[in-house]
Symmetry: C2
Subunit: 457 residues, 2 copies
């Protein structure tokens, strides 16, 4: 069967849930970042696991690529249909299927977004902590092993996805993991699927850990005289075991964009956004201990956000950091880096990166989930200026190499997609070949998001 006839059959079966107009195809051709674009042959909107199975079986028979996507907010070109085929938009599978308050877990369809889930949980006293900048879908977050500002305390999707259902390339439906808090029952297929970027299977259901809303929450912003001071304060905080819920770094340029976009007036200097969770006494104790550390490292005093609405405004501003950057430099595309290193190397990694940014002349504000050793540049490029694009590529390459040299990873939370595939051999050595073997075994026709994550050559 040809791809054309597969699309025709899907059109007949799914009607207007199978879109083939140029306008729609263009919409699914690219995503938020700078990567090359390519349109799918069709966009499908399944509403059940069984529909996903039918679509996958047909695509497998037709050797037709199939690229699942959620909110389409990934930053490494994961959802670009580089070889055409079907874009599988999971956004209509967006039901919260069960909330087990007594076990602190929830079962969701992949199209549920993180904000939607937390809205649903509001009355339960529980929350789901993983929070990438965008209001991403749970399926997309699982597929890219996403994290965000809370990971330093609550873990990433790696830790928070307990179980999943997935449709494999041959149409088999598997359930991996369970609602038990731990298990030694065989290979951890759930953790294998989390982070596989739609290349091994299409997740159709997720069981995720929830956490109790802390009794007390306290948020603060603290500016520093120098970047070194801010970063060293973070390192000391982690090494002293203060259980911060969030500890985020923003440089002076990022602060300017945040101020403009979110209508804040924070001093434009190296800054940490912090949050403490615990009992009333526990939060006070954490804040006091951090206060001492900050004072030792050139901290310039705290702005506390004690009211819930002030806290929400602050963190919304942090989450909108990238949108702020895009608004400040309209017409430019973001080339986003994603270094993560052991915490002892964080100051070295950040300072060398800042020096390279200064030298390059590029516009590149920095934010970081620094408690995890993870930081990003949003290099804002004029894609029509080859010299600028080349400079951004050099800078990004240098950051990736430094991450590996310092014992870290080229991607802390954004994933491999198209953008990081060239570093996988360097990061994983012989293990990268093992990934390809697993891919070939589970998807012999290479229909699941081909051209991403693994190299089959």
């Amino acid at each position: 069967m040809s791809i054309e006839s597969a699309v025709e059959r899907l059109k007949a079966q799914f009607g207007d849930r199978c879109a083939t107009s140029d306008a729609m195809r263009n919409q699914y051709a690219s995503n938020e970042a700078h990567h090359a674009s390519a349109p799918p042959d069709a966009i499908l909107f399944p509403t059940s696991t069984d529909e996903v199975r039918q679509i996958v079986e047909l695509c497998n028979a037709a050797r037709c690529p199939i690229i699942a996507q959620g909110a389409g907010t990934s930053l490494e070109g994961h959802t670009v249909p580089v070889r055409g085929g079907i874009s599988l938009d999971m956004s209509r599978m967006n039901a919260v299927l069960a909330v087990h308050t007594e076990d602190m877990d929830a079962v969701v369809q992949p199209g549920v977004t993180r904000r939607q889930l937390n809205e649903d949980l509001r009355a339960t006293g529980l929350f789901f902590p993983v929070d990438p900048g965008a209001d991403a879908s749970m399926g997309g977050m699982a597929a890219t092993r996403a994290s965000g500002t809370n990971a330093v305390r609550y873990g990433t999707m790696r830790e928070c996805v307990m179980a999943c259902e997935a449709v494999l390339a041959d149409g088999r439906i598997i359930r991996a993991g369970s609602r038990a808090r731990k298990s030694s029952a065989g290979y951890d297929l759930c953790k294998l699927l989390v982070g596989s970027e739609g290349t091994l299977g299409i997740m159709t259901e997720l069981t995720v850990k929830l956490f109790g809303q802390p009794e007390a929450v306290s948020s603060a912003v603290c500016g520093f005289e120098t970047i070194e001071g801010a970063v060293d304060a973070v390192i000391a905080t982690i090494q002293m075991g203060i259980p911060v819920a969030r500890i985020e770094f923003l440089d002076e340029l990022q602060l300017r964009a945040v101020n403009a976009y979110s209508k804040l007036d924070l001093p434009e200097r190296p800054t940490l956004f912090l949050e403490f969770h615990g009992s009333e006494a526990g939060v006070e104790e954490q804040a006091a201990r951090f206060g001492e550390i900050a004072a030792d490292h050139g901290g310039l005093g705290f702005n506390w956000a004690t009211l819930e609405e002030d806290r929400n405004r602050l963190w919304r501003a942090r989450h909108d950091a990238y949108y702020g950057v895009k608004a400040m430099w309209p017409g430019r595309k973001g080339y986003i880096t994603d270094s993560c290193v052991p915490i002892s190397k964080l100051a070295e990694a950040i300072l060398e990166t800042k020096a390279e940014v200064a030298e390059s002349g590029l516009i590149a504000p920095m934010v970081g989930h620094v408690g995890d050793g993870n930081f990003h540049l949003a290099i804002m490029i004029d894609t029509d200026d080859p010299a600028e694009v080349a400079a951004a590529e050099r800078l990004s390459h240098s950051i990736a190499e430094r991450s590996l040299r310092l014992g870290g990873t080229v991607t802390g939370e954004h994933g491999v997609g198209m953008g990081k595939i060239k570093y996988m051999e360097a990061e994983h050595g012989a293990g990268y070949g093992v990934m390809a073997e697993i891919k070939r075994t589970l998807d012999p026709n290479n229909i699941l998001n081909p051209g991403k994550l693994v190299s089959l050559n």
Copy 2:
């Protein structure tokens, strides 16, 4: 090449580090639990990754089974050479290679035992939390995805192994994971190897998370009027989010064995062993909150162990629980069950199990890492009494079925080995076939611990 000639070549190369005497072969034929025994053809004692590679390459050429083992304390017959071949005793690869205090991780060889690592860490203010009953090896613990009393707070080997080096069946050496706290760089091969029980590769190095010694520690024992009361107190504690470091259940029969073996005189009733970690104030707060919960559920008051030596004595007694049982019923073999269910189902699981034990007339003390929903029976059987063996099998089977029915797993922490292989299809459905496909891909000649975990038929 035949297995015999492979053994001859290994003998020539390794000299007295290749043992073939009957006495030695018998020693490696069985392990702590009730499973059938079978001797290896030879026992090898490698001292480096490269030696492991050489042995594996030779075994692969000769189609010779190779069964890695650490301390030999597994409970599901993992290390029994059911098809002969080479027992690979990793105990001489027992160096702590690096302790990165500033990053709170350590790099160890697989033969390092958990107590050895913690001895090594004593001066650093850090500790490694995963603590199965036995003084197991780190490699064995990683291979079985072990946990223990601290998992409710600090996680299991799944969470605590950040990276590993492994020799694959064809002799390739891979490094999976990194020292960065998080990563989205491709398939999580590290988590795939953790829990793979030596069937996908032989781990030759592990990087593990360490944690800061808590500023304050407080341990207590609390007896309860009824089992229901004890279990309900646990459930309430977890649901209220009290960050207990340890919360362990022992039934009255287990208490009797502990008292006798460890020379304690605790009242022989359903009992919780607890530990709180935190700041001085935090520990006091946790203890007070738990005290209220216990009072509400028929708790009969606390015995506090405030001195470090008293605490160590208490937890040593808990860790020696199984040895206490073996000493109290000498000549019998332990048939150990390992149910883990969602916490909301724990009371149901435990009470039904206790009722079945009473009905069966078997000797079967119960212990449990109840904060994780995990509990064990040590059914002490006379292996020469077929009726008793059959009754134990029926009881064990009923527990496994109940675990699945309640949304849990047939093995919370002991692994699959020989004992649980018959439940894998029921627990994983189509996913079990995927495990077999991965096994065939990475070990096409089925030399790595054949007959364990996966079924290749």
